[in-house]
């Protein structure tokens, strides 16, 4: 009965959605003029950042990104609260599956290259696909690999906090620099450089690196906390 009602409702919803989206059309631009062109031109001419998504994420809509890293920060904090245990309760972490020697050495080999890849991704965030989020996540997966293969591999909580906080402070202070120099938060204070140069886009690259560190630290923290939950 309940399921039938839900199915019918979902069908109605689906019909409406399909109706709208076929109406909107696929593969064409739906609006006459939008912010899209301003972003493309601004990214190319003013910011000199070749990856437009990056310039949107970090500069045009950088405020969203600030909110986003805050969401992750909050998530790791909330997670710590939800799964909080008194210190002496924290035992060994559960291991998903017993890892063999091959896995262990493989992980050890892979770990540096994963971190390096992540670092590469966020350093080149303004040039090629990728950036702080992607790079940070990749680094976090590296730590994840180590955490699930090695039973006693541990990440210092304090050190994570340091990285996380400093990266956050760096982000905000770069924004505040813009606030004090150009009267506008997140405004670019460094020379823009040349398109497709590593040192282009001024402050954007640096902020994305900060975001990368922050995301990496936060995600690692989240995984660390949730892994230490014993059954």
């Amino acid at each position: 009965m309940k399921k039938a009602i839900i199915l019918i409702s979902l069908t109605i919803l689906g019909v409406y959605l399909i109706d709208i989206f076929t109406g909107i059309g696929f593969g064409t631009q739906h609006f006459a003029s939008g912010v899209k062109d301003a972003y493309l031109i601004g990214s190319k001419e003013t910011l000199r950042v070749s990856n437009v998504v990056t310039s949107i994420v970090v500069n045009f809509r950088g405020f969203d990104t600030l909110g986003e890293v805050t969401v992750l920060f909050l998530a790791s904090m909330a997670l710590g609260g939800i799964l909080y245990k008194k210190r002496h309760d924290v035992g060994e972490r559960s291991v998903l599956f017993p890892s063999t020697r091959i896995v262990m050495s493989g992980a050890k080999l892979l770990f540096p290259s994963i971190v390096l890849l992540g670092a590469y991704v966020f350093i080149h965030g303004h040039l090629s696909p990728g950036g702080g989020f992607q790079g940070g996540t990749i680094i976090a997966t590296g730590f994840l690999l180590m955490l699930i293969t090695y039973r006693n591999y541990s990440v210092s909580h304090n050190r994570l906090s340091w990285v996380e906080s400093l990266a956050g402070v760096l982000f905000i202070s770069l924004g505040l620099a813009g606030y004090f120099v150009h009267d506008s938060f997140l405004a670019n204070v460094f020379p823009e450089g040349k398109l497709n140069d590593l040192f282009s886009g001024g402050v954007i690259g640096i902020i994305y690196v900060a975001v990368g560190f922050k995301v990496a630290a936060e995600l690692t923290g989240i995984i660390y906390t949730i892994l230490h939950e014993k059954d």
Binding site: I6, L17, G27, K36, V52, A75, L195, I226
Partner: protein, 123 residues
């Protein structure tokens, strides 16, 4: 033939909407908390796909000025939905992590994952 294949384009919308509906169906009917969270995350995926495909331009290129192709502005797909989805994915992950932590705690507290048995708070 080409014309019929044209319709296939809309399959992306259809699939995205289906993902959304399937996820919603799972979240609304499944009793297991983990299934519900799973349903929610599938639903999110559907919406993300929908958003990206709205920004897509036929024969468009990625919104990146690669060396030598600096002037193809008009051909670039809309970067805005991509930026939004980027944000949304990360936020979605944060929410999923919190949700799963809550699920773990609920399981410890109630020793069950069935949502219809976890209702100490009602009326």
């Amino acid at each position: 033939m080409e014309k019929y294949l044209e319709i296939l384009n809309y399959a992306i919308y259809g699939a995205a909407i289906l993902l959304l509906l399937i996820g919603l169906y799972g979240a609304l009917t499944k009793k297991s908390l983990i299934k519900i969270v799973l349903g929610l995350s599938i639903m999110d995926s559907g919406v993300h796909l929908l958003m990206i495909s709205i920004g897509y331009l036929k024969n468009g290129t990625a919104p990146i000025f690669s060396p030598g192709h600096e002037n193809e502005l008009a051909k670039m797909v809309d970067p805005v939905p991509q930026a939004l989805v980027l944000t949304a994915i990360v936020i979605g992950f944060g929410v999923t992590a919190v949700a799963l932590a809550l699920v773990i705690r609920l399981y410890k507290h109630h020793n069950t994952l069935r949502i219809d048995e976890i209702k100490n708070l009602k009326w």
